[in-house]
Symmetry: C2
């Protein structure tokens, strides 16, 4: 029987509402903290046995309907030597940020061997998940969001450099995005070739854009990525944060599912994305006050999800490190027992 997660992504009826959590593998799990120690996350990702184990931990503990690869959106750029590090508590930092045409040469095409460590992890995870027919979600950063990281060089709240670049040098920005589209497509194709059953594109920073900017600078490259993997016939999820004003535009990019963050009521989010399936959208902060509050929040989300098919339960953003896993365990039970969308 095909997984409820894959069916829901395709808008088909399901026997239960599927649930997984963004950043379900990570610091909120004591077994993760015990395993990881102090090394860089990029080192952990480079070790297939370790990355496989980390990917599996939340599947075992929570009984979620999908695994998501333990990886990071900067992995392919690290792999081709762009000079990326992920600093604990801070995020990706670029030694020499993208500044001018000369930097285009540092973004060469991605080859399969560049990410052999990632596909080796995919192999291990897919083999381990076969017994339970649990799908693995692969992922990549959407081109605009990756461009933000490469241009800004460090996490930002203002997006000053990327916005100035795209408005002041639109031709250079377009050439940068062309490179990122190609790398993203190659990275996603590699994951699916090794057995990932679905992919999520994280356009995490799209919410920093105005509607005009999203239309001009972010939508088309994302649509090109999705078009270039359409022949793989795996469900695709497009997700960003603070994207309430953009949901109708994001729904035209071509993904099977649009992720909704917690700012938008889920019924309203469904209305904005039209015939796409939706994923979301419990506020991660609602999971920090104990089981009762978390379950109450989940029930509010389920009520807004309604009864129509095409719904995957998730948080509206990643699991916060301070989350007690017992809260997520309880939410999985409630979603499976009480969810009605498409059932």
């Amino acid at each position: 029987m095909e997984s409820a997660f894959l069916k829901a992504c395709r808008g088909e009826p399901v026997d239960h509402v599927p649930v997984w959590f963004m950043r379900q593998a990570g610091r909120s799990l004591p077994e993760y903290r015990a395993l990881r120690g102090t090394g860089s996350i990029l080192e952990a990702i480079a070790d297939p046995a370790l990355a496989h184990e980390i990917t599996m931990q939340p599947v075992r503990r929570y009984g979620v309907d999908a695994a998501i690869l333990f990886s990071d959106i900067v992995v392919p750029y690290h792999a081709i030597g762009f000079g990326v590090d992920v600093v604990a508590g801070r995020g990706p930092v670029i030694a020499q940020p993208f500044r001018s045409e000369a930097d285009l040469e540092r973004l060469r095409p991605l080859e399969g061997e560049d990410v052999a460590h990632v596909t080796a992890t995919v192999d291990l995870v897919v083999a381990a998940l076969r017994a339970s027919d649990t799908p693995l979600i692969g992922f990549a950063g959407a081109p605009f969001t990756v461009a933000s990281y490469l241009v800004e060089g460090a996490p930002t709240r203002d997006f000053a450099l990327i916005k100035t670049l795209m408005h002041a040098e639109p031709a250079l920005f377009a050439r940068l995005l062309d490179r990122l589209v190609d790398i993203t497509v190659a990275f996603l194709r590699a994951q699916v070739a090794h057995g990932a059953s679905a992919v999520q594109l994280f356009d995490s920073w799209a919410g920093s854009l105005t509607r005009d900017e999203y239309r001009r600078f972010a939508l088309e490259p994302t649509a090109r990525v999705l078009e270039a993997i359409a022949d793989l016939d795996v469900p695709t999820i497009l997700f960003g944060v603070g994207t309430g004003e953009l949901l109708d535009l994001m729904a035209t990019a071509g993904s099977s599912v649009v992720g909704i963050d917690w700012h938008v009521d889920l019924d309203e989010g469904r209305r904005r994305v039209g015939d796409r399936a939706v994923q979301g959208n419990l506020d991660p902060a609602r999971c920090l006050g104990g089981i009762e509050l978390g379950v109450q929040g989940a029930r509010e989300v389920l009520a807004r999800a309604g009864a129509a098919p095409g719904y995957v339960f998730n948080l509206g953003h990643g699991v916060l490190p301070a989350t007690d896993p017992a809260v997520l365990e309880a939410i999985v039970r409630v979603v499976h027992e009480e969810g009605r969308a498409g059932v």
Copy 2:
């Protein structure tokens, strides 16, 4: 002749579109940096001659249609001894954050003498602005946003503590908000009594809430503040960031004007707030790429502002410290020459 700013706030016709900039007094101005040195911002605010001069600097340089008091939303809480410091580059930090009922006692009523330094600054600024009939905007933090600071104790992206408090202990949260309403009202009344011609309520963190949370926990205290100063008959502006989903609710709080951030197209923002005037909403990052890009951005905003009265030009958030003042000078000229809303 009454100022275009005050008329626009009231939805009346104007002879030109008024403009001011949130955080127009501050690090983007070389004359500010020359004056301030390295002391704490709370020390500068406590010095009326200095705070007066800082308030006047952008009025002189830009010819904006309103001054805004150089102050901070934590000032009244610092004044009553709650133990607040503003750490450069980080924001307000609370030595002993609000945690339980016992902390309510630390939020005693605000007396006029507590903020005598602030009203002394208002006196100086109002006297200096009289010649040009330029209004002074006073301001305060809206109760929910202040509660976020007092409970979290330091800037946060997750709002974990405040959200847990409001859901888990709604009665205590309500008592906290009651205290903050009273202090906010007293602080605003003091500024208006000394000559402020309008006030802005910064509900900077309202955008972290779901619609249900805004309705339950933030809207009513804000409405009570506005109701309690309605007899003063000064225009009021209610502003937050990331509030696209909340604008229709914010419009019911009772302010004259609703501020719109740059995520929402201004014409759509006007639609959402109905018969309220609006203020906004150029992306501050659009001012970082030189005069031409800034002016182009301002023209896009003016086009969406349309011709109906009830419009104040502003950025969608505060001026970024890296902004070249020449860009804002050019924007003021363009708004005054080309703005058509209510003209």
